[in-house]
């Protein structure tokens, strides 16, 4: 009897938690299908018109393309730099190795606001204006440590032995990297890319601070929100959410799935 009450209470608590976290998202998605100009109850029935408007609005599609450019290039650069740094740190002995590892990880602890401001000041003092490439640099700064950390966990002693075997058979460092290490940890590299892309995809502060005309999707949404709510913003939000979910599921499958060897 007592146990049943306990179970009931904890079940209720769990449900409440999930409702608290997921209800706003569910409502946002629901009203992206609102047939009317106001994204508030009552729900007047489903329509895809708002999705049509975001994919036909130049502002939206420009933002989307800019976000893709920033996301793909910053994630690719982050993964390449992070992987090479992890390989160097884990495979070579040199003084201050631990210190260097700490310095590489450090940007994870720095607030995005500081990164954005610092970047803006630096870029302006060098005589360049804010642009999409400044956002790419900013996103590499915040994402490279993450890619580095993911790669480092995958470059253990077992993998090191395998690299030794390749060297023993005559392979050069470049060949070991290209034909052994990278293919061996390919799932982790793809997962790191997906994770970096997800973070870049909905990053706002840095993107807002260091762009002027070529803005990314989160900045477009922010300016739309200033003009008032409409089901169109809900549709954009839902679309971004969907992209992030797809990426995260990909990470989950690649990185945490049970490895066969």
């Amino acid at each position: 009897m007592r146990r049943q009450v306990g179970n009931l209470l904890s079940g209720f608590y769990l449900t409440a938690c999930y409702v608290f976290i997921l209800l706003p998202v569910a409502v946002l998605i629901l009203f992206s299908f609102q047939d009317g100009r106001l994204a508030v109850p009552p729900f007047k029935g489903p329509t895809l018109q708002w999705y049509v408007t975001i994919f036909t609005s130049d502002r939206m599609t420009d933002g989307l393309i800019n976000s893709l450019i920033v996301g793909i290039s910053s994630s690719a650069i982050s993964v390449v730099l992070g992987f090479l740094a992890a390989f160097g740190i884990s495979r070579y002995e040199f003084p201050a190795r631990r210190l260097l590892q700490g310095v590489i990880i450090l940007p994870l602890a720095v607030s995005y606001l500081l990164v954005g401001m610092g970047l803006l000041v630096t870029v302006s003092s060098l005589g360049f204006g804010p642009s999409l490439w400044t956002v790419v640099i900013g996103h590499v700064v915040i994402n490279m440590p993450l890619a580095f950390a993911i790669c480092l966990t995958q470059l253990g002693e077992h993998q090191r032995k395998i690299e030794w075997a390749a060297r023993d058979l005559g392979a050069s460092t470049l060949r070991v990297l290209a034909q052994v290490t990278m293919p061996m940890i390919a799932p982790a590299l793809v997962a790191a890319f997906c994770l970096c892309f997800t973070l870049s995809w909905d990053e706002f502060i840095i993107a807002f601070l260091v762009t002027r005309f070529d803005v990314t999707l989160p900045v477009v949404i922010w300016s739309m929100l200033r003009g008032g709510f409409s089901p169109q913003t809900n549709a954009v939000g839902s679309f971004i959410f969907l992209c992030s979910i797809v990426m995260l599921v990909a990470v989950e499958l690649l990185l945490f799935r049970k490895r066969r060897v």
Binding site: K161, W164, A166, R167, M184
Partner: protein, 346 residues
């Protein structure tokens, strides 16, 4: 004529620890060398120095008359069979075996031929297309062997290759390794902590302890006439009788005066070593006194008997034939032949 593998006064020091202490070794072509010793004896470090993975503090390594001390593993005519095989998980069996050939720019059709021949050699014909994760432990071992042998190294280095296999498979792989070594005619250097494995495989056993070579020789010699007390105890069971040389060819011990030929001077502390199968009960020339059976365990081909001397505090370990009537507490009159008694400095 220089040896095929020459290791000359190698030192390897890690901080305050001396892993290898003036190790020298000369090996003829086509030898099966087994480095054996307890953990921390330096056997793996020595293998690693030969393979080029560990740079020695001082000393010299030469293979086939060429000084390779300064060369990286890739440039040495050696390949290694790693303990956990270290196969490339993302390549097929053929991809693994062909890797070394690809690095050496062997053209495609010849590569195919050599991969097939190598897989044939290790009994994995037709497995080329399989993935590594589809193979059992023993099969992975064979792939690793094929991968190491296909590039035709002067010397194959084996780092405790049988440690992860169960007993039956280990025996089988021992036979196969030996057959493979004979067929290819290459020198093998094999590391193990298992003295039985060392006996079964080696043409040259190298017993290591605390970074030094204690003894090196043919298995039969190592077992029958060990050079040091450590070798005698590490390489199989024996009875040890401690004593002091009291006159020409005579040792004063707890069980009385024992006569044996020896080179040690009068007054030296010595140990007399007899292997269990050499202790007899039929009155051979060297008397070892009477002993009472303390424990006897039946082992199939023989009884393993622990006995205690009537006089003095001395234990014996010996073997009795299975048809012998063995009773606890029974008295035995022990002796041995002169040539089976080994006198070693203590």
């Amino acid at each position: 004529m220089t040896a095929h593998l020459e290791v000359e006064s190698i030192f390897k020091v890690y901080g305050a620890v001396t892993a290898l202490d003036q190790v020298s070794l000369a090996v003829e072509q086509g030898a099966y060398v087994v480095l054996v010793g307890p953990s921390g004896s330096g056997k793996t470090t020595l293998l690693s120095v030969i393979g080029g993975f560990t740079v020695p503090t001082s000393g010299r390594v030469a293979i086939a008359g060429r000084d390779v001390t300064a060369l990286a593993p890739a440039q040495r005519p050696t390949t290694t069979l790693f303990q956990d095989y270290a196969l490339f998980p993302h390549m097929s069996v053929a991809g693994n075996v062909g890797f070394g050939l690809k690095v050496r720019r062997v053209p495609g059709d010849e590569r195919e031929k050599r991969i097939t021949a190598a897989l044939d050699l290790v009994g994995l014909a037709g497995y080329g297309g399989r993935g590594i994760h589809e193979l059992s432990g023993g099969q992975r071992q064979r792939v690793a062997l094929a991968r190491a042998l296909v590039v035709e190294p002067e010397i194959l280095l084996l780092d405790e290759p049988l440690g992860a296999l169960d007993l039956n498979l280990r025996r089988q792989m021992q036979d196969e390794l030996l057959a493979l070594q004979r067929r290819t005619g290459r020198s093998f250097v094999h590391v193990t902590h298992d003295q039985e494995e060392a006996m079964a495989l080696a043409s040259l056993v190298v017993v290591m302890n605390k970074g030094r070579i204690e003894d090196a020789g043919a298995p039969k010699r190592i077992y029958e006439r060990p050079a040091t007390l450590f070798t005698a105890t590490f390489m199989g069971e024996s009875t040890q009788i401690s004593g002091r040389v009291s006159g020409t060819n005579a040792v004063e011990t707890a069980i009385g005066l024992v006569h044996a030929t020896m080179t040690q001077p009068v007054g030296a502390e010595v140990a007399l070593i007899v292997r269990p199968e050499n202790i007899r009960t039929d009155g051979a020339e060297i008397e070892l006194g009477t002993a009472r059976i303390r424990e006897a365990t039946f082992q199939g081909a023989h009884y393993r008997v622990l006995a205690k001397a009537e006089r003095g505090d001395q234990d014996f370990v010996l073997r009795l034939p299975p048809d012998h009537l063995v009773e606890q507490g029974a008295m035995l009159r022990l002796s041995c032949r002169a040539e089976s008694l080994v006198v070693l400095a203590r």
